[in-house]
């Protein structure tokens, strides 16, 4: 197995944990979670959302930590190390996350741009802001002018990539570790400030009642459970290959189980803080009926609440301009901390193929810029990619379970998790979750989202491969990727592992790759 360059490690367990939290907490926690909670009736949604943290997200985080720590390779090499025939699965997981990275750079650019504009608005109130005012009734026009300008989303997309790549360029300790040491405590502090401000607003209790008043009957509706499972799957970053990538840089005696629980619970803590910062604000500023409409407004590319309604709402509260800047700063930090883990995933894969870190970053950075351009310029393309690779992540989660089942779940647990260095030992429940629960959850989620597409999103052309939200576009793009990866499976194995062990099943018991 190739190991051309000396590998860095995180300087401490706390550094690894901060990086894991930075990976897990992204824009989805701040702009998707409050909307999905509201759309699904508040408190009843929170129960399945919390439950599935232990039935999907944390078990997959444990698998990722275990594979990364044992194999010391990115997604392609890690899957290939587990079983040579599964190398293509690592390629799918890696490309699926990179497919998200291409448009996530664009989202990061939007966050940077709104942070910049809201800062300009504090420094020079009423001054000229490109694209019209950020406040009041002009927010929709401001957003449309920004997106339709073309050059602005591209410029901020480039700034996002350059910033993220620069952090990765500096390496694991000086780049990823230092950035997360600053970003994550700052992110939590800002979320706590925003929450305190929101819940102390006059009229905020309406929002708190909405968020926590439990109607037990709603728990009988299957939609609540499927939405809770989907949110848990997307939000924690489990099955994306990002924790696997960070686990490559773990110390040999670092724990896996407690780290996975901390990453999962930390992610859910940040989501709950964001919901408590946003929903009470909406209910404090607007009458209940209007608040409900706004808080559930998806808007273009799911940006309705964040970029259109939040500026309108903050205008109504004392110190709103400062809080608006802090809100977008929080969003930018969340976006950046996740983006750097995505760029590192791509860079790690290129390093496994023999490139230096610096050349790998150059390749990944240029690729992200070029392949993100269509999403920066076309909201329809952005939405298509969000749909295809977002659903693809569910398949990625299943591929982890399939690979561990093929390797032997009991053997995986004994060799890679319950080693002497682990602080907490996993029971046999882990075997049951990986073998049965995750495949069943995958089938339920994929059936649910495809049924949504067939019945509601695009009932007439659900089969069409070139529609934004069709089942056909998912199957076409996944199928194309899988076909290419299957054709390249052997050449990739040769590049990664040499020609001698192409047919090998993976490491034997006790092997240290």
């Amino acid at each position: 197995m190739k190991q051309l360059h000396p590998r860095e490690t995180f300087s401490s367990r706390w550094a690894l944990l901060l990086a894991a939290l930075g990976m897990a907490i992204g824009t989805g926690n701040i702009w998707r979670f409050p909307r999905v909670v509201a759309q699904n009736g508040g408190a009843p949604f929170l129960i399945p959302w919390f439950l599935f943290l232990f039935l999907w997200s944390i078990p997959l985080l444990i698998v990722e930590f275990g594979m990364g720590k044992k194999t010391r390779m990115g997604t392609v090499g890690a899957f290939g190390s587990m079983h040579r025939g599964h190398t293509w699965m690592g390629g799918f997981v890696g490309f699926c996350t990179l497919g998200i990275t291409f448009y996530y750079c664009v989202v990061t650019g939007w966050c940077f741009r709104y942070t910049f504009v809201s800062l300009v608005d504090i420094v020079s109130p009423g001054g000229s802001i490109p694209g019209g005012g950020l406040w009041g009734a002009e927010t929709t026009g401001h957003w449309n002018a920004f997106i339709e300008s073309g050059w602005q989303p591209v410029l901020f997309h480039l700034i996002g990539i350059l910033f993220g790549s620069w952090i990765i360029y500096r390496g694991v300790v000086k780049g990823i570790e230092r950035a997360n040491r600053i970003l994550i405590p700052m992110l939590f502090a800002l979320l706590v400030i925003a929450m305190i401000r929101a819940v102390t607003l006059p009229g905020a209790t309406g929002g708190l009642n909405f968020l926590f008043d439990l109607e037990w009957r709603k728990l009988l509706h299957y939609r609540i459970w499927l939405e809770g499972l989907s949110q848990s799957a997307w939000s924690t970053g489990a099955g994306w290959g990002l924790i696997l990538t960070y686990a490559v840089y773990m110390k040999k005696n670092d724990d896996i189980v407690a780290n996975s629980f901390l990453a999962g619970l930390g992610n859910n803590s940040a989501s709950l803080l964001a919901a408590l910062a946003i929903i009470p604000t909406v209910f404090a500023v607007l009458p209940d009926g209007q608040a409900m409409t706004i808080v559930t407004d998806t808007g273009p590319a799911s940006t309705g609440l964040t970029f259109i309604w939040i500026p309108r709402l903050f205008e109504e509260i004392a110190g709103g301009r400062i809080f608006l800047f802090l809100f977008f700063l929080t969003l930018s930090i969340a976006a950046l901390s996740s983006l750097i883990s995505m760029i590192e995933l791509g860079t790690r894969i290129t390093m496994d193929f023999g490139l230096t870190r610096h050349r790998g970053i150059l390749a990944v950075g240029c690729g992200c810029f070029l392949l993100g351009l269509p999403s920066a310029l076309s909201p329809a393309f952005f939405q298509n990619q969000d749909w295809v690779w977002g659903i693809g992540l569910l398949l990625s989660g299943l591929l982890y379970a399939v690979t561990v089942i093929r390797y032997g779940v009991e053997r995986f647990r004994r060799e890679m998790i319950d080693s002497v260095d682990n602080d907490i030992r996993l029971g046999r429940i882990f075997n049951v979750i990986i073998t049965f629960v995750i495949p069943i959850e995958f089938l339920a989620m994929i059936a649910w989202w495809f049924t949504q597409a067939i019945l509601y999103y695009d009932p007439e052309f659900w089969w069409h491969p070139f529609r934004a939200f069709s089942v056909g576009t998912c199957l076409f793009q996944w199928g194309l990727l899988i076909a290419v990866l299957l054709v390249l499976n052997r050449p990739i194995q040769r590049l990664l592992f040499g020609s001698s062990d192409v047919n090998a099943p993976g490491p034997r018991e006790g092997d240290t790759p």
Binding site: F212, L214, D423
Partner: protein, 44 residues
């Protein structure tokens, strides 16, 4: 706020934030014990 909402808020926030803080404390203890073992001043 209604009594039900207050109860639910305590339960959900307690489980999520309490769980997170409990694991933080646990990891801090594990690390402290490992440090003591490394330095040779732990009974085990």
């Amino acid at each position: 706020m209604t009594a039900g909402a207050i109860l639910m808020m305590i339960v959900i926030c307690g489980l999520v934030w309490g769980g997170f803080l409990a694991f933080l404390g646990l990891v801090w203890r594990f690390e402290k014990r490992k440090r003591q073992i490394r330095n040779g001043d732990h009974p085990s």
